[in-house]
Subunit: 213 residues, 2 copies
DNA sequence: TGATAATTTGACCGGTTGGTAAACATTACA
DNA sequence: TGTAATGTTTACCAACCGGTCAAATTATCA
């Protein structure tokens, strides 16, 4: 039989799990570096150390690979925001949200670039995720922030734009890494830039959120 | 004769100027939406309303189009930073820098995305510009900011990361527009989000830069 | 107006790319 | 062990894509 393609069987075999894992790892490497259109199945196959038809045995199309990858990575990507705790100390919560996001940018830049590529080009494959789960989560957390402001625990500010500002400043160090490196030059080539960024951003946001008068 | 290709002649004809203009406008539309690799000459030709060989009469290769486009847009893109005046009032200067960058993101989102696409994928075509003119300009302006901090006119902070933060927060509204729209939802679909962003960002940075104690 | 240069186009080419078909190899399991 | 299901590979195809060429059309100007 030729068809099953890991769908008909109830239980996934050991080989299926291993190979799908290897493929998605390779797909992350390639898609995050060149975008969907700029990536080829051959490139992914080479990184995975498998033949092209073999990849297509596990994922019927290039789109299916991309989709599976996005589904897998999206949850992890949103975890830091989910952890924002309405019961905690507001300023401390936001500070550690920034730190977690920056750690993600440092440790998982490929995941960040995967989404950046996608959104930059109009989010043709993840529009539903943006308008559904993402919006829902942001709405919920924006309400938490708004409540903090109302209670006088942080300065009044637009919670949506605060979240955008935290996203953009932290992800910048993953998505625009080559620019950051180019501007900072050789002397800051190490990972120290993330510590500098953390210090700067925590100060910027924490001072900006302090209640005035 | 078949060859000239707008190079042999000393003076560019009216037709040459018009057509090159049309092509670069179309190229901006397409490259900014799909990235270099994701764009095809046919797409650009269709947007420009010209035939593919006709484009290639004015620009020998796809790369030449891209290169001409980047050269043309880069200067405009860096103008706001150039205008940062060491003689002016520090806080006012930074505030108006933010405002100008945000206006650029609102009025020229395609130009922003053009660079974002390029940098995100490792800046294969503009590495020299990043390490040369861009770094030079940023170094110069970082020194201005550092001097302001040293003179006690603004809070001490890492000037490079301050510039990165301003870049990322403002360009976010151009580069990740679909995400911003998706999260804000229908109700904020108009251009009002740029005014909200301006209010938020000016407050964030200005408060964050106020000298403490 | 006529000749020359500039511009435009349709037909085409070779390489790449996503994807398929079918033969072959390996694994799981009764 | 035998056999059916699963996994892998070779050869291949059709569409696409960057770019060329030569012929045809249009603009320029003496």
């Amino acid at each position: 039989m030729v068809l099953p393609r890991a769908a008909k069987t109830q239980r996934r075999t050991r080989i299926q799990e291993e190979k799908e894992e290897r493929i998605l790892e390779a797909a992350l490497e390639v898609f995050s570096a060149h975008g969907f259109r700029g990536s080829t199945i051959d490139q992914i196959a080479e990184v995975a150390g498998m033949s092209k038809p073999n990849l297509l045995y596990y994922f019927r199309t290039k789109e299916a690979m991309h989709r599976a990858l996005i589904d897998r990575v999206l949850d992890t990507w949103l975890d830091p925001l989910r952890e924002l705790d309405s019961e905690g100390n507001p300023v401390a919560e936001i500070r550690s949200y920034i730190r977690r996001k920056l750690e993600l940018a440092r440790d998982f830049p490929r995941e960040s670039r995967l989404f950046a590529n996608e959104i930059l080009q109009g989010a043709p494959h993840i529009e539903d995720e943006l308008k559904g789960p993402l919006k829902q989560l942001v709405d919920e957390k924006a309400e938490v922030i708004r409540a903090w402001a109302k209670a006088g625990k942080i300065a009044k500010c637009d919670p949506y734009h605060l979240i955008f500002a935290i996203w953009s400043t932290t992800q910048h160090y993953a998505d625009f890494d080559v620019q950051v490196r180019a501007v900072l030059g050789q002397e800051h080539a190490g990972e120290g830039r993330f510590d500098d960024a953390a210090r700067f951003l925590e100060r910027l946001f924490v001072d900006g959120l302090q209640v005035r008068e």
